[in-house]
Amino acid sequence: MFAVIALVVGVALGVIFRPTVPVGLVPYLPIAVIAALDAVFGGIRARLDKIFDDKQFVISFISNVLVAALIVYLGDQLGVGGQLSTGVVVVLGVRIFGNVAAIRRHLFRA
């Protein structure tokens, strides 16, 4: 419950204050969003499975975002940023999809 409220507050803060992102970090925003989505859906599913763990959630979020950004950064430096981004999106996308399917089974029993 707190988590949902915090999420809404975060969105509201972002909309109201419109924080500026350093230009250097802009390319990592989309990949960070995907990583965050993965953490969120993983957390929701764990919650529904009744195995949610705060520490695990926070660490998975931070590490997901950092690792995804690192991979993209490394790819950019090596000239294969596009391909590595695709790889990250595929892996995280599969996980998001699987977790959402599990959430759906939990909620609708179908």
């Binding site: 925003l29 764990a46 195995i51």
Partner: protein, 280 residues
């Protein structure tokens, strides 16, 4: 078959949930419940993480929206600009036509009673500077549908059935030959100095773009003479070979608008007292 821990893809597809949650749950089951303070701290950390995630979503969304203008919005603005200017030009054109009608009427009144008015009107019709009405033919010409490449399934780039400026020129010439008194292409009246040219992929008639299907309306040509001309026969062959579209229809009561007045190239407005500073 049990997937080994190194079989990453199988593991990914079978259990998308981070295995850390299961481990944490197992650990929790073994150990006694954590203290109240620790639990609150965990809650706080989760809330903070969610706050960050929400912030991230909002910022990323705003960036995605803001990134759009540089590419799409500039284009949209340009398209809107073009459309508004085109509308303006059409209005001005209409106004010019009205004024031209007024001038013609005033001139007819002034010349009434003499044979000059009739002669002038005939000359204007012949040169394309006067509106004309009469029976004639409408030749419609359209590009062949693009050929679909059987391998890629995409339309192929080189379409031999595309209408070129040469085609419009040939048809206009054939219509003149068949006795046309006035010709207009997509409403653009041809005069003795009209140019039909290609610029890039577009065909320009008197420097104004026309797009397919091209309608070439002519007043006065002998339809049989045109249909029997070499040009018409050639286009019928194009229809068979390249699937270009070409139809000739006779039409009664065609009205062809006047061509815009030709620019004066050498004549200027006579000034009663020429000033020494170069006419300014």
């Amino acid at each position: 078959m049990k997937p080994g821990p190194d079989n990453f893809l199988i593991q990914l597809f079978q259990s998308p949930l981070d295995p850390g949650y299961a481990d944490a749950a197992a650990r929790k089951a073994e150990r006694p419940a954590p203290s109240r303070g620790r639990r609150l701290g965990g809650r706080g950390a989760t809330a903070l993480a969610c706050l960050l995630i929400g912030l991230l979503f909002a910022v990323a969304y705003q960036h995605a929206v803001a990134a759009k203008p540089s590419t799409t919005k500039a284009r949209e603005d340009l398209v809107g600009d073009v459309q508004s200017r085109r509308k303006q030009a059409e209005q001005l054109q209409k106004q010019a036509e009205d004024l031209r009608d007024q001038v013609a009427r005033a001139r007819d009144n002034a010349l009434a009673g003499r044979g000059d008015a009739e002669r002038l009107r005939e000359l204007a019709a012949g040169t394309g500077l006067g509106k004309v009405t009469g029976d004639g033919v409408v030749v419609t010409l359209a590009d062949a549908p693009p050929q679909i490449d059987p391998v890629t399934g995409k339309p192929s780039d080189d379409n031999p059935g595309v209408v070129l400026d040469r085609d419009l020129q040939d048809i206009a010439n054939a219509l003149w030959q068949a006795g046309a008194e006035a010709i207009a292409i997509n409403g653009q009246r041809l005069t003795a100095t009209s140019a039909i040219r290609t610029a890039g992929g577009a065909i320009l008639v008197d420097f104004r773009p026309v797009t397919g299907p091209y309608q070439i309306a002519a007043i006065g040509p002998d339809q049989d003479a045109f249909a029997g001309s070499g040009t018409a026969q050639r286009f019928r062959r194009y229809v068979e070979t390249y699937r270009m579209q070409f139809t000739v229809k006779s039409r009664k009561g065609l009205t062809l608008v006047a061509a815009p007045d030709p620019e004066l190239r050498y004549a200027g407005v006579a000034s009663p007292s020429p000033s020494p500073s170069g006419g300014r």
